[in-house]
Amino acid sequence: MRLFEESRPVLQLTVSQFSDRLRRWLERRPELQRIAIVGEISGWKPQPSGNIFFSLKDDRAILRCFVYSSDAKRFPTVSDGVAVVATGTIGIWERSSEYQLRVVEIAPLGVGAIAAKVEALRKRLQAEGLFDRARKREFARFPRRVALVSARGKGADDFETTLREKSPNVAVRFIETRVQGEGAEIDIAEAIDRASREDVDAVVLLRGGGSYEDRYPFNTEPVVRAIVRSRHPVVTAIGHTGDTHLADEVADAVFKTPTAAAEYIAGAWAEVTSRLQRQRERLTRAIEGVVVRCAQRRDAADQMLRLAVDRRSSQLRQRLLQLQNRLERQNPRHRLGERATRLTAAIVRLDGVRERVLTKKGNSLALARSRLTSVNPEGPLERGYAIVTHAGRALRDAREVRTGDEVEAQLFHGRLAASVERVMPDE
């Protein structure tokens, strides 16, 4: 079909006119009103308004796409790199000289049929009440042992590592199973049944990331039924995406990642362990506090005891000292000294008296001696005097004799007989 006839003269239009014509033409094409385009998503850009811009591409071409928020709400989760079938209307965007697909429906390629099947199953199971909140079982706050149903790999490792770290006392019974591929859902169901026979407090169903098809087993009836008949509460962490699988809906608890599941299980243990540790520290500090206070009181008591005893000792010592001083002042030695002084004084006085007495006596004696000497008759004789006697009587007066009388003169040595020649009385 030819748009323009070559033989016509060259059409000249304004940009707007041209755009209008192009649009009108396009809009008259019914197949472009509802067309499905297959391609890979790229540049997936959700806007704050809820509308989404993206592109569909293959190895040669690219088609810009747009979704209104009202349609986008209903979309399954898709993202860059996902191959999809996008259904919508082709339109012209004049302002950017673009043609765009306004997408009203989108589905991962090939998944459409599967998704429909899963959706149908979902409705049936929901009608049985399998997804009801009331069915959900509480599981033990302090689980001792859990069964891990998973393939070997990073998911299982992450789970076990986190669990060991946060609650090392929780034991893990690993029940290995395929988690994707043909018939995997039977293996998974059998593994869950095995877990029921174990003595555990919970069953953890894990699966790492993967495509919708890879995760399909967890959207199947065998797995759902196995979870329903599980003797223990079941916890799922499937796919790392936010996608909800039927297994998630029927499980007793759902987590986004294996690590989150492990943290949940460890939760109470970890909390209690840290509380215990804090209490242990408080206890230790309290005891230490008590010990310290007791030691302080003992030290204070020691000191006071010492002080009291020392005070008493020094009181007594003081008193003793004072008494000793007073006693010493009363030392008889002092009184002896006094007595000695008095004695000495007495002796001195005595001496004095004696001296005087002796002197006096001496004087008297001397006096008497001299008097005695003076009355000694021989005394004058010695000095040349004579004692003249007459008739035996010593003469003192000349008139006691007459001339011619016979007298005797006693000399100091010898005598004389003499007669008086003349008498001469004192005038």
């Binding site: 020392d310 000792s313 003793l320 008494l323 000793q324 006693l327 008889p332």
Partner: protein, 82 residues
Amino acid sequence: MSDRGGFEAKLDRIDAIVKELESGDTKLDRAIELFKEGKHLARECEELLKSAQLQIDEAMSDAAQGGKQRAKTNELDDQIPF
């Protein structure tokens, strides 16, 4: 400290002796006798004080030793098993 009864009594006796001597009208030979008694008692009191001090010092150091031993056992109790 049972000697304390004897100690105080001795001090009191010395006090009495000193008072009598201080009164002044003691005959010499009595004064000498009293003085001798007083000095003797004072020496006894000094001995008693010395012995008391020693006993106190011993008691204080004994108590310190005992305290150290008790503190050591407390450290061993520290490892409370949980």
